[in-house]
Symmetry: C2
Subunit: 217 residues, 2 copies
């Protein structure tokens, strides 16, 4: 198909698609004439992935570039590709480099590592950004005055693991695409957002119910 149809099918302006092409986020089409090319289903899928990462995941262009690069690397396949794409996804807030991490956060990261490795026994690489995110969360809770240790994370780990198993069973079969890594990325970003939204709704619901059953005042 031509670029105009690509725009129609993905809802993205032609100028945006051209920008993604120049930027390397979208692979080039097959040249049919100078300054003219034709595109296929893989281009439609890629543009949809970019849109989901940006609009649902709220990822920056730089982060999207990392995810796409991980997916496209022909040397990295299978489980390694899933891991590379997950790591590119973050969560990595643009924090300070490791050597200037505050002592309380460094301690919290060590506790988070022990929690993941020893208590949960999960097999994740030492560079997984989720580890640092857990340490940052623990440090942030303490800075806000909460007297907590890594055991506060137990119910969240349990929910995360349960959802991962549900997803494997119920969802895997319903997404008709050969690209496992792309599929994992879309599902992860979209369902992360859905879960966060549901958590906020659940909170609002519980606040509403509590205010109705509490004594007036």
């Amino acid at each position: 198909v031509r670029i105009a149809e690509l725009s129609e099918r993905t809802g993205l302006p032609v100028a945006t698609i051209k920008f993604y092409l120049r930027d390397g986020l979208l692979m080039p089409g097959a040249a049919t004439a100078p300054n003219q090319a034709t595109y296929g289903e893989e281009h439609v899928e890629r543009l949809r992935l970019i849109r989901i990462l940006a609009e649902v995941g709220g990822l920056s262009l730089g982060r999207i570039r990392d995810v796409v690069r991980a997916i496209d690397d022909p040397a990295v396949r299978g489980q390694a590709a899933v891991r590379a794409a997950l790591h590119a996804l973050g969560p990595v807030r643009d924090g300070p480099p490791a050597e200037v991490v505050a002592p309380d956060e460094r301690r919290a990261r060590d506790e988070a590592d022990r929690f993941v490795d020893d208590e949960l026994g999960w097999q994740v690489s030492s560079s997984a950004p989720g580890r640092r995110a857990l340490g940052a969360a623990l440090a942030a809770l303490r800075r806000s005055g909460a007297d907590v240790d890594a055991s506060i994370l137990r119910p969240y780990a349990r929910a995360a693991d349960w959802l991962a198993s549900e997803e494997t069973e119920s969802f895997e079969a319903r997404v008709p695409t050969d690209d496992v890594v792309q599929r994992v990325m879309v599902r992860t970003v979209v369902l992360d957002a859905a879960l966060t939204a549901l958590r906020h709704l659940a909170r609002e619901h519980r606040a509403a119910v509590a205010s109705r059953t509490a004594p007036a005042g």
Copy 2:
């Protein structure tokens, strides 16, 4: 305390604190002389909240401004304040206004509303941004080729509700602050991030285990 000590206790540069003061994110201190003021515990707490919203939650300055405004509004208290702050928190991706929402996303939003109101029976206001986020998630899954309806959200709603009840029981008592709304905000943002991190780690773990038990190839 003086602004230099405020900087020391919160880890934020003096220039950043001055910017927050000019911007109204941080309430003014008590003037002790022209161009000099003294600050209290409420300033330390506010700066920590801003830092957590920015660094852990990844919120923009504009979004942080909305959250702080909701917390500070003296006319809004109790459950209404929790709701206002949750709504300010989002998730609101800067999407198109309602009237230009694509038809498939509009349908998905209606389905999400029915899911929240009829199936879950949650008491949340019709303007809750989480509703729109659920619709966007459902539409995004479909655009990626997944043949799903709102029932895909069931396990996530179950996990979100279970976590909300766990948090109420186990965590509420451990955070020593009078400011309920500020407390809810910190906890929501930090534990959203922790849960997302744990979901990514759980995925990586399951991919590692699966690749080890699957036949080579």
